[in-house]
Structure formats: C-alpha cells, structure tokens
Amino acid sequence: MKDFWKRFSQNRGAVIGLVILLLVVVLSIVAPFIFTKSPWAMVQRPFIPPFTMDAFVLGTDPMGRDLAAGLAHGARVSLLVGLVSTVVSLLIGIPIGAIAGYFGGWVDDVLMRFTEFFQSVPSFALAVVLVAIFQPSITSIIISIAVVSWPPVARLLRGEVMSLRSREFVEAAVLSGQTHATIIWRQILPNTLSPIIVLASMMVAAAILIESSLSFLGLGDRNIMSWGYIIGAGRTVIRQAWWVSFFPGLAILLTVLALNLVGEGLNDALNPRLARKGK
C-alpha cells in the first residue's frame, strides 16, 4: 500500500486529478447543506451576471435560478450516474469476458460475437434510442450507459483470463478438484483486479460525458438537476448569458479530466512494469 502511494504520487498529474476529484466529491456531499433551497427554485431576477452579487456568485439563469446551486446539486448526479453505470457495466462485462476466456471454444465464439455486435453499433446513438424509448429517468439513463459501455470490459477480461488460464497455479487448482466457479472467482478474478480498476476509472469519466450529452439533448431525468441539462437550457440564450452554459461545461471538463488523470496514476501505481515501458 505504501509502495502504491509512492508510485501514484510520483505522477504529478494524478495527484492534481485526485485533488480535483476530492473537491467535486466534497461539493456533491455538502451541496444540500449549503444550498438548502431546491436548485429549481426561482430565487432572484433572471440573467444576473456572475461575480456581481455575493449571494449568487455564479449569477442566475434565464429562469432566475441560482447557477451555483445547480452546479453543486449537479455534481452528485454526475458522480452517481458515472459510478453506478460503471458498476453495472462491470457486472455485465466481467462475467461475459471471464466465461469466454476461461472456457474458450464455442462458448468463447458465441460470447465474442455477442460482444462484437454491441461494439459495432454506434454507442451514443444506441444510448439515445434506449433512453428515448424507455422514457428518461435516472434508471434508464444508467442502464443505457451500461449497455453501451461494457464491451471493452469483456474484451479486457477475456484476454487477462486467457493468459492466466494456462498458469501453474490455475492448473494446480484444477488438479485439486476445485469447481470452475471457484477457480474463476477465487484464483483468476483477484489477479485481474488492477487492470479492471484502471479501466473502471476511465469508464466513470466516459459515463459522465455520455450522461451530460444525454441531458443536453433533453434526455435527462426531469426531476434531477444535472450539468448537461443546465447547458442545454442555456443553449438558446448563449448570446445574452454566456455564463449559464460556460460554468457547468467547465465543471464537466474538470471532473472528467480529473478522473482520466487519476486513471493514469492508478495505471502507473498498479502496473509498474507496463507503465515504465510506456514512458
């Protein structure tokens, strides 16, 4: 663990990313306590420019809503959707990849054709269609993002499992009479953890981008304030009120950037040999 931190902190970008990420996490936790009013509530006259009123640092939107409150409440949605949809993609991708890599043969063939199908479908367009058909809600958004994001997980897992499959400790486990399920769960999966963690951190970033794009198109959950929604709402008044679209976009950019940086740092820390090669 100490070694892990040492390697992680050697990557300056990763440390900066971690700091930004922690700030966003803290913001999402304290948001309901600082901004006690609903982010949908009209609190002042519309179109107050940023940095002109102390009570509304980031100004107000065309409906007179506090932009800072919207941003703070939106942080929770972005992180939540990013995290949960990544967990769901892992729950789909890991079993498929592990079974394909472990059993090989026709099982592998069938599962990989299935994976390939999902990879050759334009992913964002599929997510749009899914959310539209099942009606926008936080659940349909999370599931749609997971449905279009799991193939890389399955492919990664398959490759890892295939190379572990022929190692001595797995052969020993087979000889000792353990069941396939035990071998996959106890012997093989723990050894695939580091690449999964690295991939997952990047997937959270990608999921946040997809979520914001969906909300921007009007496919967000109507009851939840999200960054993409604010930008979408500010789009039509961009000429009069640049700040309404500007700040939420900056928030998305910083969060996604932070996650990508942390992902690179995790890669350095968890796969030291691989990381050296790349440098």
Binding site: V121, L126, V128, V129, L130, A132, F216, L217, G228
Partner: protein
C-alpha cells in the same frame, strides 16, 4: 482479398439484421401499444391510422410473424412512414445524409491530419516544452464535452469575433450559386467540423505519440541510426509508418463515435443532417423516424469499419501473410 471482403460484407449484413431485430424488440418494449409507439403521437394518433399500422405490420398476429414482416420490410429498404413529417422515413434520411457525410468526413480528415501531425511532432521533442503543451492540450480536449466545446466555439468565433457563421449550412436567402455557394458552405462547415474533429484529434495525438515512442526503441530504428540516416527521415519513413497501424484501428472506432457526435454537433449548429433529424425525432417523439436514423447510421458505421478493415490489410503486410 475478394474472399476476405465478401466474408466481412456477410458479417456486416448479419449485424445489420441483428440491429433490425433489436429495433423490433425496442418498439415492443416501449411502454404502450406498439402501433401508437410507431405513430409517435403519444397515444393521440388517429384510430384509423393506428388500425392501418396494425394491419400493415400484422400487429394482431403472433410475435414471430410480426418480426418477419418488420425485418423483411427493412431489408427491402422500407423504413416506414414518419407520421409527424408526412414523408417516408427513407426519403427524410436520404435528403439529410449528404450534409452529415460532408460534416463527418471533414471532421475525420481534420482529426486524423492534425492529430497524427501533433502526435509525431510531440514524440520527436519528447520531454521538451512543445511535447508538454501538445500532451496537455490533447489531455484537455480528451475530457471536453463536445456540445459544450461547440457552444463555446459559437460564442467566441461567431458572437464575439464575428469571424464565422454560428449556425446553418449556408446563408439563408443569399441564393449563391456555383463557386460562391461552395465557399459559403465551406465557411459554415469550419466550426462544426473543427469541434466534431477535436476530440478524436486528441485521441490520435496521444495514440501517435505513444506508438512512435514505442516503435522508436525497436532494433531496426537503432540500425537506421547506426547507418547514419538523418533523424527526420528515420522519424517519417521508419517510425511513423510503423506507428500508424494502431491509428488505423482507431479510425474504424471513430466512425461509430462520429455518428453520436454528429447528433450533438448538428443540434448545436442547426446543421441539416441526420443527427439533427434524430434530435427532431426525439423532441417530437417520432420513434419510427428515430429508429430509422439509428439503422441507417449503424449501416454507415459498418460500412466505414469494412473500409478500415480492408485498409488495415493493405497497410500491414504481416496480416496479409498471416491469413
């Protein structure tokens, strides 16, 4: 080679049929009566029209019969009728397709050209300030939401500076013809194509840089250096050429992303392509049109993937020999 292409073509057709089947089940999975979903009137469609839809798609028959009717009509290029726009779906898409192709191909050329150049430049100056700046910019673009970048582009270049038009395909009411019309469209194309291309430009730059640094450590590069070749020639002729292989793989991946990006970019810039059509279908709940655009864009992506697969084989002699 011909066998390879026909094999891939067959695979693409199978995937396309699977997508059609998926579409069919999506219509049935949507809340409400499938006929009313297809009509896209949120339950308010004319009963006579609903009955007509039921008969045409055999919605009163068993599911497998319905599936057969649906898939065979799509195979015959019949994507149905958009009740909202009062036009066949295929005609609507056909009218918008050229604008999307123009936009996506321009974005593709921009991202590939600028990305590979920037990546190669950065790798040649590894660790110097030029490398740091290019890597940093690529990292930032990699994290930027496309639609936001597009809005900021409009704000800066169109609203503030007034250099470029911020929306549309050509100047409305100007009635240019010939060369001046092409120039007008080109001017309108710059902002959307640049923003659509920037994300993948960042991806290509990162990829090219990493691949060139990796190839640069291989033995044949040392040999070239030992022979006394100039560094510029080694970089261009030996390193870059070998580093381009993973880039070609990426190009196939980009096709799928371009379609999704086109929905966002065309929405921001009011670009009259199929992405904008998809957005209109969304806001009008015109599901039949939405699914039609989805099938056509999937077909487009499959076609691009087929081309990159063929190109990959032409570029890399190792694959040619291996199969």
């Amino acid at each position: 080679m011909l066998r390879f292409i026909s094999g891939r073509l067959l695979k693409a057709v199978v995937i396309l049929i699977c997508i059609t089947v998926l579409n069919f089940f999506l219509i049935h999975a949507a809340p409400g009566d499938p006929a009313s979903v297809m009509a896209g009137e949120a339950g308010d469609a004319d009963p006579a029209f609903l009955q007509q839809l039921r008969e045409r798609f055999g919605l009163d028959q068993p599911l497998y019969v319905q599936l057969w009717i649906y898939v065979s009509s799509v195979v015959k290029l019949d994507l149905g009728y958009s009740y909202r726009q009062q036009l066949p779906v295929l005609q609507l898409i056909g009218e918008r397709l050229p604008a999307t192709l123009l936009l996506s191909l321009s974005a593709f050329v921009i991202s590939l050209g600028l990305g590979v150049t920037a990546g190669a430049f950065a790798s040649a100056r590894q660790g110097k300030w030029a490398d740091t700046i290019i890597s940093l910019v690529a990292l930032i673009f990699y994290a930027t939401p496309l639609f936001w970048l597009a809005l900021m582009g409009v704000l800066l270049f169109s609203v503030q500076l007034g250099w470029l038009p911020g929306f549309g395909y050509e100047t409305v009411g100007a009635n240019y013809t010939g060369l001046s019309r092409s120039l007008d469209i080109l001017l309108h194309l710059i902002l959307p194509a640049m923003t659509l291309g920037l994300f993948f430009m960042a991806v290509y730059a990162r990829m090219t840089r990493a691949a060139m640094l990796e190839v640069g450590q291989l033995d044949f590069v040392k040999t070239a250096k030992a022979k006394g070749l100039r560094p510029g020639i080694i970089q261009r002729r030996h390193v870059l050429r070998n580093a381009l292989l993973p880039v070609v793989t990426l190009a196939g991946l980009q096709a799928g992303q371009l379609v999704g990006g086109a929905v966002l970019i065309e929405t921001v810039f009011a670009w009259p392509g199929i992405g904008r059509l998809m957005f209109d279908a969304l806001s009008q709940r015109d599901y039949n049109l939405l699914l039609g655009v989805f099938v056509v864009s999937a077909a487009m992506v499959l076609f691009f993937n087929l081309i990159t697969d063929v190109l990959y084989r032409l570029v890399d002699p190792r694959i040619r020999v291996a199969s």
